[in-house]
């Protein structure tokens, strides 16, 4: 999209800071929920004190509302006894066998629908430009949804630092990087993957995570002035 007004000046610095922190919190949680098998510690943290009654990213968005409700409802009933069921759900969704929502970008965007394709390398290069790399490099694909969301956390943090040090140029450049990463990577495939998560999850926890991730990505896109629909692959 093109606009005469730099996106960075559309909001006040305070408002940007709020947004960036909120997004990094949201992506931090989503990333962990999607990249790691469920662990009791995280679930306990969430369940205690009714954390999920709020979601860091605000907005009038159906997915955010539905996701918050599902997650909140699930956590209200949380007990350790649910952990095996949650683990089974995670395994079916993201590990396989019979993988229901393969969490890797190239599975959706490459010609052959497999892992370790050009998309994987492009994501690896993107991380590398920011001094990062995926764990278990060359053994596990770099373009895992959880890792791409973790990378968003990193980009948010860097932008916040730039904001704090009043480095407008760098701040603008970092928002540009977020926009590029969303447009070239996340927005092109994550909605499809998250759709599968919502469709196949057996627990409200992962259904909730799916909706919240969808809604959060949409809110980020809006904040950065991207039309998400523009970047979804067209379905003929």
């Amino acid at each position: 999209m093109s606009t005469t007004e730099p996106v960075t000046t559309r909001l006040s610095p305070e408002r940007w800071a709020t947004d960036l922190v909120a997004h990094s919190l949201a992506y931090g949680f989503l990333s962990r929920a999607i990249y790691q098998e469920p662990d009791g510690g995280l679930l306990r943290t969430l369940a205690d004190d009714d954390v999920a009654a709020t979601w860091p990213v605000e907005g009038d968005d159906t997915d955010l509302a539905v996701g918050r409700e599902l997650l909140h409802g699930f956590l209200r009933e949380w007990s350790e006894e649910l952990l095996p069921e949650l683990r089974r759900d995670y395994t079916r969704l993201f590990i396989g066998p019979g993988i229901k929502a393969a969490p890797w970008e190239s599975v959706y965007l490459s010609r052959d629908n497999v892992v370790f394709e050009q998309q994987t390398v492009a994501v690896r290069d993107f991380y590398h430009r920011f001094g990062l790399q995926a764990p278990r490099l060359r053994r596990e694909p770099d373009d895992h949804l959880g890792l791409e969301l973790a990378f968003m956390v990193h980009l948010c943090s860097l932008a916040l630092e730039a904001l704090e040090s009043e480095d407008q140029r760098r701040f603008q450049w970092l928002l540009g990087a977020q926009r590029t990463f969303l447009r070239v990577h996340l927005l092109r495939w994550a909605p499809r993957c998250l759709g599968l998560v919502i469709q196949h999850a057996a627990t409200d926890y992962y259904r909730g995570v799916g909706h919240l991730a969808l809604g959060t990505l949409r809110r980020t896109a809006e904040t950065l002035g991207i039309d998400p629909a523009e970047h979804a692959p067209s379905v003929r």
Partner: protein, 794 residues
């Protein structure tokens, strides 16, 4: 997250409560993790030293149980296989390229398939439910080692079984590792036979003294006529380039006739003529051809007199009542008093009598001619019969031991490339069961005896209690009668523990208690020799590291050995690559032109040079007294006294047509299930391997093939979903209506992955949902092509 400036304070004022912020921050991995972009658990600071590497081409191969061993060259960039190509050497008749087929070309898709098995798993639902949970390697291997120890202590080595597994075809493939591990650990119940050639390998030596009855394929150009009898290399490969040699023979002037119930790719793409035949009636055609030859005096009496026994009453072993020679049987002078005329055979085989006569004359009068048998026929109710029947015709025409001829029977070739192997170790257990009866040994092993083919002991001290299934799908999918097999396996009081190494969640993997992710060919150093036919030695170099937490079968078994206290015995201190190096020492010694280990690793392929084609039984033909066959008489035994003494139902001493159970109207089941069902080899798979490939599935979806005559009678149209069923089970699958197979026969290509729906109906289309566990009478081999079914619109 900094506490100064805009950070947390701003947030807590404007959006979230402070408490909520702290909680979400903790949920997100803590403030420290947030600051580094989830570095606490996800991304890491980049290792600057990890520079990108240039593209390299790594020679490796595709080795599965199609019989092909083909060259694969993997283009690797920055630890990633970006493309696959196959043999790029110059192509010549003397040394043809070992080009991979479409299966081999999907190896990259196989490697990077999103649903590959990635981590060790333990079963969490009922056995067979397919519910698994990721565990650590330590937990997985500790569990397996503990169960192996417990079951060995409690039930003894005869309770330990390493299941037949040929998903891999390389020297270091999984099952060999499991064999070595179990042998060194104290032994295991042996099996004999295989799922491919049980009857053929059993029967051929009764006639010829060996199952190595084949010449080399470069001799086919010397044939004037080739009868490819149930022989279909264009689809099922049977050694890299086999169809190429067939085409070369044709170019050199051979007429090629395919005799097969299906118009196979070999029939449509290569053959000059296709003779469709009713399945299971091959011996009736053979017998009638013999009748025509005898009747018209076209047979080679001199050859028969010199080189065979049992053809006529003048050449029978002592003490056998008259009327038992092949000639007597054929001419109606035997016990049944029926002459095996072309008219007789027409009613059985559906081949017009005139066509039978012409075929008999052509085969008898064209010299030299080769009757090359496929082995599908040997996986039928009386699979021993066509194997020896083909040899009878080869002998009657004098085509044995000469260029351009072919002795028929099993047809494996003595000539191959010399190379060592990965030693399996000594198994202290003597007892062995026929491989097709392993489910019986789980169910009632201690009751089995010689009548079930048990050898080595009179009785087994234990049923099978532990199964190692390492890279194979015969635990469920490729074994017979899946519903019965899985019922046995589901009962954890019978077989108490099952460990499986696999790449994908196939039907067998579903029945694992511990399921281990195995590395693929592209992820390890290995070698492969051509299977059955061919002489090449292919080097497999590791192209990329094993993905996720997959490990090589060797490393897995070495770690288990360590836990079992036999680590040093298992590895002898060697890596997998060092075992490969050792195996090739044999090759270095055998051939002057072998380029040396390192050069071979780099080139990827070694093929020894041969001056001339190898002709099986040439020395016997040249001098039968000096080079007798390894049979009791030293001659070709058309009548086998050894078989006569076995005195088993359905196992005559001269090969002949035996009507099959589940074969036709004479079986009461025919009323309810009037269609014969076979499971052909499908181009998209090597048995059940590659069924996971979406590419190949799109090219060749799993379907039931059915003749229009049978479809019309049932109101079935091409593309309909149909039910294929008998008393053993039901498959639901789309139908392809085609005249490319005979009426009365349906074909459900073997190897489709069994997928029971909620009602136990198999919607994956494994033919073994329908097959029987009843063995053949001689070999106790699998008769999985003899099946009656009915088909109805779903």
């Amino acid at each position: 997250m900094s506490d100064s400036g805009f950070g947390a304070d701003t947030i807590t004022r404007t959006v979230l409560g402070r408490r909520s912020f702290m909680k979400w921050s903790a949920a997100a991995g803590g403030a420290a993790a947030l600051a580094g972009g989830g570095l606490g658990f996800g991304l890491q600071w980049a290792d600057r030293a990890a520079a990108q590497s240039d593209a390299t081409v790594i020679p490796t191969g595709c080795a599965h149980n199609c019989g092909g061993r083909c060259a694969i060259r993997a283009w690797v960039e920055d630890g990633r296989v970006t493309r696959i190509e196959t043999d790029q050497r110059p192509d010549s008749f003397e040394d043809p390229q070992l080009r991979a087929c479409m299966r081999g070309r999907t190896n990259r898709e196989r490697l990077y398939h999103p649903d590959r098995l990635k981590y060790p798993m333990k079963r969490v639902g009922d056995r067979g439910s397919g519910e698994f949970e990721r565990i650590s390697w330590d937990e997985a291997l500790d569990t397996v080692a503990a169960e192996m120890t417990r079951i060995m202590d409690e039930y003894g080595p005869e309770s330990m079984y390493n299941n037949y597994a040929t998903g891999g075809g390389s020297t270091m493939r999984g099952s060999v590792n499991a064999t070595r591990l179990m042998n060194l650990f104290g032994g295991r119940l042996n099996f004999y036979n295989n799922y491919s050639w049980a009857a053929a390998q059993w029967a051929t030596p009764y006639s010829l003294g060996t199952d190595l009855s084949g010449s080399s394929r470069d001799d086919w150009v010397n044939s004037k006529l080739i009868l490819a009898w149930g022989f279909n290399p264009a689809e099922m490969i049977f050694g890299t380039n086999t169809q190429y040699y067939l085409k070369e023979a044709q170019k050199a002037g051979a007429r090629i006739i395919v005799i097969d119930p299906r118009m196979t790719m070999t029939a449509s793409a290569i053959a000059d003529e296709w003779i469709p035949i009713r399945p299971g009636t091959d011996n009736a055609l053979m017998d009638a051809m013999a009748y025509v030859m005898i009747n018209e005096d076209l047979h080679d009496q001199e050859f028969l007199d010199t080189y065979t026994i049992g053809f006529d009453e003048e050449h029978m072993p002592d003490g056998i009542p008259s009327g038992n020679s092949y000639r007597s049987y054929v001419m109606g002078d035997g016990e049944d008093g029926t002459a095996k005329t072309p008219e007789w055979a027409e009613s059985i085989t559906m081949i017009p009598r005139d066509r039978i006569i012409r075929l008999a004359r052509e085969f008898a009068m064209t010299k030299p001619a080769a009757l090359i048998q496929g082995t599908g026929m040997n996986r039928r109710a009386y699979g021993e019969q066509p194997v020896r029947g083909g040899i009878n015709l080869a002998a009657m025409t004098g085509n044995i031991g000469i260029n351009g001829g072919w002795a028929s029977g099993m047809g494996l070739c003595e000539r191959g490339v010399s190379v060592g192997g990965f030693p399996a170790g000594e198994n202290p257990v003597e007892a062995a069961i026929p491989v097709y009866l392993w489910t019986e040994a789980v169910l009632r092993g201690t009751e089995m005896g010689p009548e079930d083919g048990l050898v080595g002991v009179d009785r087994l001290p234990s049923n099978i209690k532990f199964i190692y299934n390492c890279g194979g799908n015969c635990l469920v999918n490729q074994h017979g009668d899946i519903n019965k097999t899985t019922e046995i396996l589901k009962d954890t009081s019978l077989c108490e523990f099952i460990v499986v190494h696999e790449h994908f969640m196939n039907a067998s993997a579903k029945f694992a208690d511990i399921l281990l992710p195995a590395a693929m060919d592209l992820e390890q150093d290995d070698l492969a020799t051509t299977w059955a036919w061919g002489e090449s030695l292919i080097s497999f170099s590791k192209a990329v590291e094993p993905l996720y937490e997959a490990r090589t079968d060797y490393d897995i078994c070495a770690d288990l050995a360590e836990r079992l206290g036999i680590g040093e015995e298992f590895t002898e201190g060697k890596t997998q690559e060092e075992w490969v190096r050792e195996a090739v020492e044999v090759t270095e010694e055998a051939y002057d032109d072998f380029p040396g280990y390192d050069a071979w690793r780099e080139e990827g392929i070694y093929v020894p040079t041969f001056d001339e084609p190898f002709v099986a039984f040439k020395d016997f033909r040249d001098d039968p007294d000096e080079h007798p066959l390894d049979t009791p008489s030293g001659k070709i035994e058309i009548f086998s006294e050894d078989i006569w003494e076995l005195d088993r139902e359905g196992l005559p001493a001269v090969a002949q047509y035996v009507p099959e159970w589940e074969g036709g109207p004479w079986d009461p089941l025919f009323e309810e299930y009037p269609l014969s069902c076979m499971g052909s080899h499908y181009q998209r798979r090597s048995h059940s391997t590659f069924d996971e490939s979406p590419w190949l599935d799109e090219a060749m979806p799993q379907r039931l093939f059915m003749n229009p005559v049978d479809a019309e009678a049932r109101g079935i149209e091409d593309g309909d979903m149909v039910r294929v069923f008998n008393d053993r089970g039901e498959v639901r699958i789309a139908v392809r209506v085609t005249p490319r197979l005979v009426p009365g026969l349906v074909d459900l290509p073997q190897g489709g992955w069994w997928q029971p729906n909620g009602d136990g109906v198999d919607v994956g289309g494994s033919v073994n949902t329908l097959t029987s566990l009843k063995p053949t009478p001689g070999a106790f081999g699998n008769a999985q092509h003899t099946v009656l079914v009915e088909v109805a619109k779903a």
